[in-house]
Amino acid sequence: MLSYILKRLGIGVFTIWFIATATFTAMHMVPGDPLSNERGTNEIIRANLERQYGLDKPVFQQYLLYMGNMLKGDFGIAFSEENRSVNDIIREHFPVSATLGLLSLLFATAGGVLWGALAALYRNRLPDAVLMFLVILGISVPSFVFAALSQLLILNLNQWAGRSILPVAGWGDFRSMLVPALVLGMSTMAFMTRLMRSSMLEVANTDYIRTARAKGLSPTRIFFRHQLRNAILPVITVLGPAIAIITTGGFVVESVFAIPGLGRYFVQAVAQLDYTVIMGTTVFFGAFLVLVVIAVDILYGFIDPRIRLGAV
C-alpha cells in the first residue's frame, strides 16, 4: 500500500514538472511581454524594469531559475500586482475557488442522487419526464447563459420582494455562495442525475433486490438499504473528474458573481501576460489535480473492495 502511494507520488512529481515546463514553453511562445503598458516607456525605464524582473537574462537561465525557486515553493512576485507574491495570491484566492467548488460539488452530488433516485422511482411517469427535461436543459445550456440568467432572476426576485433576499453578486456569507455554487454545479448535477437514474434501474433488476423483495422486506428498507446504497457507487467514481472540472471551471461564475477566486486571476493573468501568475496558478492547479486523482484512487480502494490497488 505504502509503496503504491509512494510510487504514485513519484510519478506525480514528474507530472508537475511536465506541467511546469509545458506552461513555461507555451507562455514564452506568446508574442509580447509582461512589462509593456498602454503608455509607452522609454528605453531607460524599460531597461530598469527588465533588470528588476530578471527578464534581461536568457530564457533558459530564466527557466532554471524559476524551477529552482519552484522547488523551494516560491512562485515569485506577480507582474501585475507588484506588491504581492504569487504564493499570497494562491493562498488568498484558492480557498475561495475551493469553497465554491466543494459547495457546488455537494449540490451536484446531493441533487444528482436525490433527483436520480426520484426519477428512477417514478420511472416513465410525470416526475421522471420533468426531471429528465431539466437534466437535458442542464447539460445543453452553456454555463455563461445560466449564470447571467440566474443573476437576473435574483435581481427580479429582490425587486419583487422589495428587499434583498439573495445577494446579486459578491462573496462572503453562505447566501452569496448559494446561487453561484448551484450554477457551477448545474451540469455536473445533470450528469449525476442521469448516472444515478440508470444505476438505480440497473440495481432494481439484480438478484439481491429480488431476493430482498421475496423475503418481504418493506419497500422503504429495500430502497434505502439495498438499492440506493449500491446505486450510489458509480456516482462516487465520477467524483474525482468532477472535482477537476469544477475547481478549474469557475471563471465564468467567478466573473459574473464578483467572486474573488483563482480562476478569474488566471484569465486576467493571461490577458496581462503575467508570467509568474500564469506559471503559479497552472502549476498549482496541476499539482492539486494530480493529488486529488491519487487521493480519489486510494479512497476507492477503501470504498469498493473489488478494486485492487497496485495494478496500475
Binding site: V30, P31, G32, D33, P34, S36, N37, R39, G40, N42, I44, I45, N48, L49, R51, Q52, S80, E81, E82, N83, R84, D88, I89, E92, H93, V96, L118, L121, A148, Q151, L152, L155, N158, Q159, R163, S164, I165, L166, P167, V168, A169, G170, G172, D173, F174, R175, S176, P219, T220, F223, S255, V256, F257, A258, P260, R264, Q268, A271, Q272, L273
Partner: protein, 546 residues
C-alpha cells in the same frame, strides 16, 4: 416498483424547510448609501494593481490614491487647482518654490515635511525603483539623466530648504508644472516609514500611512477595499463622508449594474461609463443618467513607418473622405453623449481665453466619394501598384473595439474596395504589435496626463514613444518645439492650432470620438466630482442627503 411507504414528499418538505431557514438569515450586505453613517458603497473592475504612489500606473490605483494621499496641490470640489500640502507657491520660469502648511499631518501624527517630497521624487526617477511613470517627472531638472543612471539621485532639481519650504528647478519653463504636482507620482513619501516596510510599502493595510482625506482600513485582495475618513487630515472639516467601501470587484459590467439596480451601490461606472445596453436598462428603470467627459480621445492611427502603404498621404486622404465619425458614433457605437471626433484636441480643453476648439476651429474634411476615389487612384500611381494590398487594422479584444474594426472593414470595402483584415488581439499582444509596427491602421486613444492641449499635441512629435505610427514630420516637430520652448500662452496655443490643422490636412489620424462617461448614481448621493485628468471620479467632497 412499489413506493407506498417511501415518501419523497417528506424529503421535499425537509428541503423546503432548509431553504426557508436559509433566507431567514439576517442580511449582512449594506445598502449603497447610508445617511446616518454617511457611508457609501461602490464597485470596481478589479484590484488596484499597485498603491505605492511612486510606482502606481493604473486607473484603480489612481482612484484610491487620490482619496488617501495628497500632493503639493490638489483639485477642489469645483475642479480648480488649489493648495494641498502646500499653502502657497511661487513660480517663475524654471524656478518654483512651495511653502508647506504646518498642519498637514501623516496619519500617525507626524508632520508632512519638504523632505518627504524630496525623497519621493528621487525614488520616482531612481533607476533601481524602475517606476513606469518616471517620464512624468522629467520636467524636473536632471530627472531624465538620473533615470538613465547617468547622475546621482541627489542631482535632482528639488531641495528642502527647511522642513516646510521646497524648492524646485525645472529643465525648461513648463506652464503645466503646477498641475503636475497634484499627480500621484508627485505625492510625498516618508523615508523612515517607507524603508521600514521592506519593499512592501502600501502592499497591505499595515504597510500604509496616509496624508489625504481618507485612509484605507481594510483590504481583502481581489474582493473588497474600505476607506474611512482620516481624522488627522488637515482639511478634515470639508469631508462629510465617513466610509467609502468597495465590497465588489468584478470586471463584469453587467454584474455591477445589477448590483446598482439592487440598491447595493451608490454610483456605478464612475471610471468607465455605462455601455449602451446598461443605458437602455437605466432608462427603462427611470434612473437619472449623469454624463461627463472623461477626457479620452479616440482615433484611427496610421502606420507611417517606411515601407507601409499607409505612409501615402493620398491613400489616407481617400479613407478620410469616406469616413463619417457621426455615423460611427451615432449608429454603430450608439452610446449617448459620445462626441463624434473631429480633432485630436478634445472640446473641453482650454485655449488662451476660451475653449481651445472655439478659438481654433478644426478644418472639416469633406465627405466625398468621388474625391476619395480620385485620391485612391493617385495613391495607387504613387505607390506603383494596381491594387492596394490588404491592410490590417489592429485593435484590442473589447467589444467596442471589435465593433469599430468591423465597421471600418465594411466601410472601406464598400466605398473604396479596400481589403481590410481585422486583427483583434489581447492586451499585451496588441501592445507588442503596436510597438513593433505590425499594423497598417490601429484603433487607439489617448487620455490627458495634464490639463493642457500639449498632452495631446506632442503625441505626434517624431521622438514621442507613444507615437505608435512613428509619424515623422519636420513641420509638425517644429510646431511642438515652438509650443514647448515658451510659456507665452498665445504663442503656445497658436502652435497647437497649427498642429490641429496639420493633423487633419495631412490625414495623419482619423479622429473617431471623444468619450463621455455616463454614470448612474443614487439620488441621495450628491457632490461627486468627475474630471478628465488623474482619477476620473472623486468622492472626497460627496455627501449623502436624506
Amino acid at each position: 416498483m412499489n413506493s407506498d411507504n417511501f415518501s419523497p414528499h417528506r424529503c421535499l418538505r425537509v428541503f423546503a424547510l432548509l431553504l426557508c431557514a436559509l433566507f431567514a438569515w439576517p442580511a449582512v450586505a449594506q445598502n449603497g448609501v447610508d445617511f446616518a453613517r454617511q457611508a457609501v458603497q461602490i464597485a470596481m473592475t478589479g484590484e488596484p494593481r499597485n498603491l505605492n504612489s511612486i510606482r502606481a500606473t493604473d486607473q484603480l490605483s489612481i482612484f484610491y490614491l487620490e482619496h488617501v494621499k495628497e500632493g503639493l496641490l490638489r483639485k477642489n470640489a469645483r475642479n480648480e487647482l488649489v493648495g494641498g500640502v502646500a499653502e502657497r507657491w511661487e513660480m517663475e520660469g524654471t524656478h518654483a518654490k512651495f511653502w508647506l502648511r504646518r498642519n498637514a499631518m501623516w496619519s500617525d501624527g507626524k508632520p508632512v515635511t519638504a523632505h518627504d517630497f524630496v525623497f519621493a521624487w528621487r525614488q520616482v526617477v531612481n533607476p533601481e525603483v524602475a517606476a513606469e511613470y518616471a517620464s512624468i517627472m522629467y520636467p524636473v531638472k536632471n530627472a531624465e539623466a538620473i533615470n538613465a543612471g547617468k547622475m546621482p539621485l541627489e542631482a535632482l532639481g528639488v531641495r528642502a530648504i527647511d522642513d516646510y519650504t521646497l524648492e524646485v528647478e525645472l529643465e525648461a519653463p513648463t506652464g503645466y508644472f503646477l498641475a503636475l504636482t497634484s499627480f500621484m507620482i508627485y505625492y510625498p513619501v516618508r523615508e523612515d516609514f517607507y524603508k521600514a516596510q521592506n519593499g512592501r510599502y502600501f502592499a497591505d493595510v499595515e504597510n500604509m500611512i496616509f496624508n489625504g482625506p481618507f485612509k484605507i482600513t481594510r483590504w481583502v485582495h481581489g474582493a473588497s477595499l474600505r476607506m474611512e475618513k482620516n481624522p488627522t487630515y488637515w482639511d478634515a472639516d470639508s469631508v462629510t463622508l465617513n466610509v467609502i467601501d468597495t465590497p465588489y470587484m468584478t470586471p463584469d459590467s453587467k454584474a455591477r449594474f445589477n448590483l446598482f439596480k439592487d440598491g447595493k451601490l451608490a454610483v456605478e461606472n464612475g471610471l468607465q461609463g455605462l455601455e449602451a445596453e446598461e443605458l437602455r436598462d437605466a432608462l427603462a428603470n427611470r434612473m437619472r443618467i449623469h454624463s461627463h467627459s472623461d477626457g479620452t480621445v479616440f482615433y484611427v492611427e496610421f502606420n507611417h513607418r517606411p515601407g507601409r502603404v499607409t505612409g501615402n498621404t493620398n491613400l489616407r486622404k481617400a479613407m478620410q473622405a469616406v469616413f463619417d465619425s457621426q455615423e460611427l458614433v451615432y449608429k454603430v457605437i450608439g452610446i449617448a453623449g459620445y462626441i463624434p471626433g473631429r480633432s485630436l484636441f478634445p472640446v473641453y480643453m482650454n485655449g488662451v481665453n476660451d475653449k481651445f476648439r472655439i478659438e481654433y476651429p478644426v478644418p472639416q474634411p469633406e465627405l466625398n466619394l468621388e474625391k476619395a476615389r480620385q485620391h485612391l487612384e493617385l495613391a495607387k500611381q504613387e505607390l506603383g501598384v494596381d491594387e492596394i494590398p490588404p491592410l490590417a487594422i489592429l485593435c484590442d479584444d473589447r467589444e467596442i473595439a471589435i465593433l469599430q474594426a468591423q465597421y471600418f472593414q465594411a466601410l472601406f470595402k464598400r466605398t473604396l474596395g479596400l481589403d481590410i483584415k481585422v486583427d483583434s488581439q489581447t492586451f499585451k499582444q496588441r501592445l507588442d504589435k503596436s510597438q513593433n509596427g505590425n499594423f497598417d491602421l490601429i484603433l487607439t486613444g489617448w487620455g490627458p496626463d495634464y490639463e493642457d492641449p500639449m498632452t495631446f499635441g506632442d503625441l505626434f512629435a517624431s521622438w514621442n514613444v507613444n507615437n505608435k505610427g512613428r509619424y515623422s514630420s519636420p513641420v509638425y516637430d517644429s510646431f511642438v518645439r515652438t509650443a514647448q520652448g515658451t510659456s507665452d500662452q498665445q504663442i503656445r496655443m497658436d502652435a497647437m492650432g497649427r498642429m490641429q490643422t496639420h493633423l487633419i490636412e495631412e490625414a495623419v489620424i482619423l479622429p473617431s470620438y471623444e468619450r463621455v462617461a455616463n454614470v448612474v448614481q443614487d439620488p441621495r448621493l450628491v457632490g461627486v466630482m468627475f474630471k478628465q485628468t488623474g482619477a476620473s471620479m472623486v468622492l472626497t467632497y460627496a455627501r449623502v442627503v436624506e
